[in-house]
């Protein structure tokens, strides 16, 4: 017996209980189960009305009073349809509102939060940041100071939508205000206090903050719980991890951060990214191996970093399990001192 047949039998049973056995309670209880079941399989209201007519014929219900009574059962089923329809409308309205909120956040990211990539003869920069959905939880920013230095940051904000966009705006202005001469660790300390006061308790931000001097190739950096970055040493063909092990932003007031300094030689590259890269899930659900990414970087070591990040992005997207998509952000700064 098919499911439809069994539903037809259920309806016959309901009518029998109601019309001939006067067992109203049992009939109504069964009626609710029946309604739930038919709605679940996407039965339309007109199909139910037609089933009702069929059943009356099938059961030879000809008496006008009985037919009238039977309509009470039909009404009961239709009420359930009405409820479902209203729930559905309410959900649509909610989705609409949610969509509007995402649109606002997305346009904020498109306009106000879009960074300008600094240009100088002695360095090349590649940057890419692609959200998994409409809005990103990833953020990156550059500030070009007049003194042959740039500040840069890559951040991952937990949460999405308007709260995340607001947090990013805070990061942007916090970075502008952070005093260059005080260095990345002090900048993170300032940002941490700002974030801690202004985000909800389940939210935090990971951030890698660097100051790069493109005249002498000196990088000073500090990390607030962000994925470690790497320096690719061109001559030695090795990757060096760069990290300072600090707490994520927004968890504890007055947290202290540390900084380190490294020197980049000609053609060396700084590679910073978010966990959308290092925690990428492949089609078979396994995680990506950092060595695969290193291999891609090696292949591209003589290209412009913008081409490299583009190539990496395209390759990674192909490897990625679409159900596990995350925001992807990568940033490469190359010491191109002697190219000119």
């Amino acid at each position: 017996m098919s499911y439809i047949d069994s539903l037809t039998n259920d309806y016959e049973e309901i009518l029998r209980l109601y019309l001939y056995e006067n067992d109203v309670d049992a009939a109504i209880a069964k009626c609710h189960t029946f309604s739930r079941n038919v709605i679940e399989i996407d039965t339309s209201p007109e199909e139910i009305v037609s089933l009702h007519t069929q059943m009356l014929n099938h059961m030879h219900v000809n008496d006008v009073d009985l037919v009238k009574q039977s309509l009470e059962i039909l009404e009961e089923v239709m009420i359930s349809f009405g409820f479902t329809y209203r729930d559905y409308r309410a959900m649509l309205d909610k989705l609409d509102l949610h969509d509007q909120e995402l649109d606002i956040a997305a346009s904020l990211q498109e306009t106000m939060l879009k960074p300008t990539i600094p240009v100088a003869d002695t360095m090349q920069i590649g940057a890419i940041s692609i959200p998994a959905g409409k809005v990103s939880g990833d953020y990156f920013n550059f500030i070009h100071h007049n003194s042959h230095k740039i500040s840069f940051a890559v951040a991952d904000v937990i949460g999405k939508g308007i709260p995340a966009a607001i947090a990013m705006t805070m990061l942007k202005f916090g970075m502008e205000l952070a005093h260059l001469n005080k260095g990345p660790a002090k900048a993170l300390e300032t940002l941490n206090n700002l974030v801690e006061k202004n985000v909800n308790k389940n939210m935090f931000i990971t951030m890698f903050y660097g100051v790069y001097d493109y005249r002498n190739g000196k990088l000073t950096f500090s990390s607030a719980g962000h994925e470690p970055g790497y320096i690719y040493r061109y001559e030695e063909d090795v990757f060096e991890e760069i990290d300072t092990k600090g707490l994520v932003l927004g968890v504890r007031q007055d947290n202290t951060y540390f900084e380190k300094t490294v020197d980049l030689k000609e053609n060396d590259m700084i590679f910073i990214f978010t966990d959308g890269v290092s925690e990428l899930r492949k089609h078979d659900e396994t995680f990506i191996d950092m060595n695969d990414i290193f291999q891609m970087l090696r292949e591209m070591k003589d290209n412009h970093p913008q081409d490299t990040v583009q190539y990496l992005y395209e390759t990674l997207t192909r490897m990625q399990n679409n159900l596990r998509k995350d925001d992807l952000t990568m940033l490469i700064i190359k010491n191109a001192k002697n190219l000119y």
């Binding site: 909800n200 607030a224 962000h226």
Partner: protein, 112 residues
């Protein structure tokens, strides 16, 4: 992408075991368990993650929020039997230093 949560109430301690995956989709379910315990402030929270295979940053955020609430009431958050891959997350983010946390190792619990 599923989560299974078991709760065991003891005097002064709420024990929670989590199995499956904790991510942006399943975190709301765990939040319903954590939040009342943390807000109530009368018991500490002991969480066993032995059967948890994956956690994303939303999951981590839930632990951060819960820790803040518990600390405000002088209550403790204990996280035990954490799988190495998830432990790495607690380590990178520096959150490991803020709570009592142990890593899972074949058959026994190792305190670090």
């Amino acid at each position: 992408m599923n989560i299974n949560i078991e709760v065991n109430e003891k005097p002064g301690i709420t024990e929670v075991s989590i199995a499956g995956e904790l991510d942006i989709y399943t975190a709301p379910e765990l939040k319903k368990v954590f939040e009342p315990v943390a807000a109530d402030g009368t018991s500490s929270l002991h969480v066993d993650l032995k059967e948890l295979s994956y956690m994303d940053s939303t999951g981590l955020g839930l632990f951060v929020g819960t820790l803040k609430d518990l600390n405000r009431n002088d209550k403790e958050l204990r996280v035990t039997n954490v799988q190495p891959r998830i432990m790495k997350l607690f380590e990178i983010t520096g959150l490991r230093d803020l709570m009592y946390i142990t890593e899972y190792s074949e058959g026994e619990e190792v305190e670090k």
